[in-house]
Symmetry: C2
Subunit: 267 residues, 2 copies
């Protein structure tokens, strides 16, 4: 963490005063959402995209936002002041709030929202990826939204590290490529820049969305065979932006800086 | 909750003194496990089975238990005293503890464990089940272990309720029946009592395990067609034990009390 503050339910408090209820469903059941955002030093990058995704996902899961997204965005900017004009990582957590035991959603649940800011040290090397055994549950809420239920992603990353890689390639339960443990994947295949489809389990990432909108990147069903024949590759997420891929399952690939620069220029 | 106490990391504290860190990975990433247990009024039912599953799952996820299971079991019994000899629901939550941001597992993570007790009102009617759209991620940690990453189960139950049922039948990504949102399923099919296989996404439930061990129930790959032709059915979990099924996807089934009694007698 940077500074002494945490933003909770609409206001800044001292970190030691932060109260999380033992019956908060974020804590007991992974029942909530999060956003990881880049504080550039003077603003939250792509803040409107993040707030739109948060609102849309909350709506899909039936979590009523008590603090409007404009107030959340203002709170994030307040937290950013603790970073003293240096880039930092903002994390926003939204839960369904406290509730009685059991999975049933209570009518009068009251959402809980919390944000923190932490130092951000972007990776300086291109990524080395390995396909892991864990699949992403294509079509399920855990794959469609950035929920707090992240155990499969955590263990996917652990499996990738055990294989000597620094990120995982996770296939969807459809058999096609979905995404990395905490990034989207873009590959160059037969001269086109492709990214996995939502139906295959790709998380609708903010940077991914911007690249698709720019027209530079197309959505496709990417089979493992296509991945094995790609000519360049990149990982994208809100914190790192666009990061080159140096190896896929121990096969070195030549990802050119010019290609990455072209992608970055579309953001 | 019953009483004023929560058991945390080895001791009872007043509920208002319970401190959950905003960087606890249970809260931020669903990175942990839970057990729901029945306090019978004088003991924790099947406590050894629950502690064995917890220890085994924690080991598989690489979470080092700092409080030994014997001490956890003793803590649960201490909490049980607040229930004043009445049946109650115990909930134990184990998380990987606090950590820096990101999914990578820190070498020096220090597990966090918390238990609460709540009133328990067992259902008095047999269950009405509906097959929901959400699949269970067969083979993934979220299906193999009782993790805190429960969003797919929550939304599966929500979908079942929207279909007018009171519990969900969740198919695994293998296409076979896996389990309900918070129970295992047993069906009578061609005269045999069958329960879905772990490889199809069944949670290794405590009551399920006891029934298999008793020889009364066999593990099988249960297709939706087999489900559609079953003659009796039951839901099992640690809190409710064995509960009859009255309807499957709006098809009434005649589950006999004698069959349920036979299953219960094997526990």
């Amino acid at each position: 963490m940077i500074g002494d503050h945490i933003w909770i339910n609409g206001g800044l408090v001292r970190a030691e005063q932060a109260q999380i209820s033992p019956s908060d469903r974020g804590f007991t059941l992974g029942d909530g959402l999060f956003e990881t955002m880049l504080w550039t030093g003077d603003k939250v990058r792509f803040v409107d995209d993040h707030m739109a995704r948060l609102a849309c996902s909350a709506d899909a899961l039936g979590i009523a936002l008590l603090v409007p997204v404009d107030a959340i965005a203002a709170g994030l900017a307040e937290l950013g002041r603790d970073a003293e004009r240096k880039p930092a990582a903002l994390r926003l957590t939204l839960t369904r709030g406290s509730g009685p035991r059991g999975l049933a959603i209570s009518e009068n649940a009251s959402a809980f929202v919390l944000a923190t800011i932490a130092p951000h040290t972007p990776p300086t090397q291109p990524a080395n990826l390995a396909i892991v055994a864990i699949k992403r549950n294509s079509g399920a809420p855990s794959a469609l939204y950035k929920t707090l239920s992240y155990i499969d992603n955590i263990i996917a990353l652990k499996q990738a590290r055990a294989l000597g890689a620094d990120e995982a390639i996770v296939l969807g339960t459809t058999g096609n490529v979905a995404c990395a443990s905490s990034a989207n994947i873009i590959i160059e295949y037969e001269g086109r820049a492709l990214t996995p489809a939502i139906e295959d389990g790709a998380l609708p990432g903010i940077v991914r969305g911007r690249l698709i909108k720019s027209g530079l990147v197309e959505v496709a069903n990417i089979s493992p065979a296509m991945l094995a024949n790609c000519t360049q590759g990149a990982l994208t997420n809100a914190l790192v932006g666009v990061r080159g891929i140096a190896a896929l399952d121990k096969r070195p690939i030549q990802t050119l800086e010019a290609w990455l620069t072209q992608l970055r220029s579309a953001l």
